[in-house]
């Protein structure tokens, strides 16, 4: 049996470790040991769903997830809708907490993205909460809810239009007092589809020749706005997301296959390109928006 220890702090900085493990699983039975998880953000939660799906798809059946011992983490997972989203992906070792009936403080619970109706649901859902968080927590103008919603819409459509596979989105605000001295909003959008290289290969691989791979596919989409559609109106979603994230001094990273590409501000020391990851299906997008200084 594979036993994957889930990092105690599972967020945008450590989720690659988890995805690499899932991408290299070799045994029929897998256990994700999350007992020692003390901190988890949307990237960690959605990353767990991706890792579980990858293992399940590869070996059949559902991997086991040993639940965190921390009641706080369990409660938070429940409030974020993790257990509902994870049904059918994991078998749980441990008692799944009931969902609280009181109103949640979550910006956007984990939401599956399968069809355009799901994108409409996400946009409807964030209107009230996002306006408050963006204005009072991040200090953005009151109108920021519109470009924030546009980012969510475009990034979720990326799953439907390009991934051809199931994906999830989630968002939450945090106080990064030690890490950054500011509040941030973290958005995670991940899928287990065909990835950027799979989406672009038929249309664009020839011009890259031997250089074609996960890194060049990410660069083609992320930096140059290439898309598999011949329509010149396509491919602007990611470009405009990058532009808006930059306006807000935020960070965006996309992992697909064995590569990760990033557009990061001065407060983030993530490398612009990483190309030695384990080949993981789909695409995993993280966006971090910091409060105004």
């Amino acid at each position: 049996m594979n036993v994957f220890p889930v990092p105690a702090s599972l967020d945008h900085q450590t989720v690659d470790e988890l995805l690499d493990s899932a991408a290299t699983s070799s045994e029929d039975h897998t256990l994700f040991d999350a007992r020692h998880v003390r901190w988890i953000d949307p990237n960690g939660m959605v990353g767990l769903l991706v890792a579980g799906s990858v293992v399940g798809e590869r070996h059949g059946g559902s991997p086991r997830l040993e639940l965190p011992e921390s009641a706080d983490v369990l409660g938070y997972l429940s409030r974020m809708g993790f257990f509902r989203a994870a049904e059918g992906i994991f078998e749980f070792d441990g008692r799944v907490p009931r969902r609280a009936s009181s109103p949640s403080d979550v910006l956007l619970e984990i939401t599956p993205i399968r069809a355009n109706e799901d994108v409409h649901g996400v946009i409807d859902q964030v209107q009230n909460r996002a306006g408050t968080v963006l204005a009072s927590t991040l200090g953005y103008p009151a109108t920021a809810v519109v470009p924030f919603s546009v980012i969510l819409s475009e990034v979720c459509q990326n799953i439907i239009e390009h991934a051809d596979g199931l994906g999830w989105v989630a968002a939450q605000s945090y106080n990064w007092a030690k890490r950054l001295g500011r509040h941030v909003v973290v958005i995670s959008v991940m899928d287990v589809g065909r990835g950027f290289r799979g989406s672009l290969t038929d249309e664009h691989s020839a011009r890259y020749g031997d250089r074609w791979g996960d890194t060049t596919a990410l660069e083609a989409a992320f930096l140059h706005g290439l898309t598999r559609f011949p329509d010149s109106g396509r491919g602007q979603g990611i470009q405009q997301i990058r532009r808006q994230v930059q306006r807000w001094n935020g960070a965006i990273t996309i992992r697909s296959g064995a590569a990760r590409i990033a557009q990061v501000p001065e407060w983030d020391d993530s490398p612009p390109v990483v190309d030695d990851l384990e080949p993981c299906p789909g695409a995993q997008i993280s966006i971090i928006l910091p409060a105004v200084e």
């Binding site: 355009n116 946009i123 409807d124 919603s149 819409s153 475009e154 109106g233």
Partner: protein, 205 residues
Amino acid sequence: MDRPPKGNGVEGIGDVLVDPVAIDVGSLVRKTVTSLYSHLVTRPTGRAVRMAIETQLSGAGVTSLSLIDLSEVTILDFSCADEVVAKLLQRYLGHDTPDAFFVFKGVSEPHRDQIQVVLERQALVAVAETEPGRFELLGAAADAEGRAWSTLEQRGLVEASDVEAAFPDSAARSGLDALVARRVAFRSETSGRYHALSRLVQHLL
């Protein structure tokens, strides 16, 4: 679709043999998707709304002028802006298509960037009301086109005999003709007058 009576009170447009119509996109969105809100998001939604607009225009005759009202739209994403603005304009710029002119209403700050981006990307231009009573030429306009449009917009209409006086340099006059070809200015076949589109839809605002 609101179709006003002919002779709508705007002076000097008797030579414009078109009945402008107003199309409320917010209402079309609510009919297209089940939502409490008028969010114009996702490409299929934009495509459905564009097709609904095209259906409404299909009976409008050889020449039409439409006021596309985005005032009730809360969120407009790039995919929808591409479908409802850029592709709608492209659809009617072909040689074998009716002469359709469009003015976009309610292009307030939250929508403006998306529309500007998709127009520039497709090398298109559009007339938009960006604040009540204030019209702008959005998209990819050449300098001469921009100057010619501003002059025409300021004057409302220019008689054929006044063109040289209103547009003294030849570049601006070429720009004016380009605006007509790009369907952001109207030239009457009967009188030779040039009309600012904003003036032709004044009674619908």
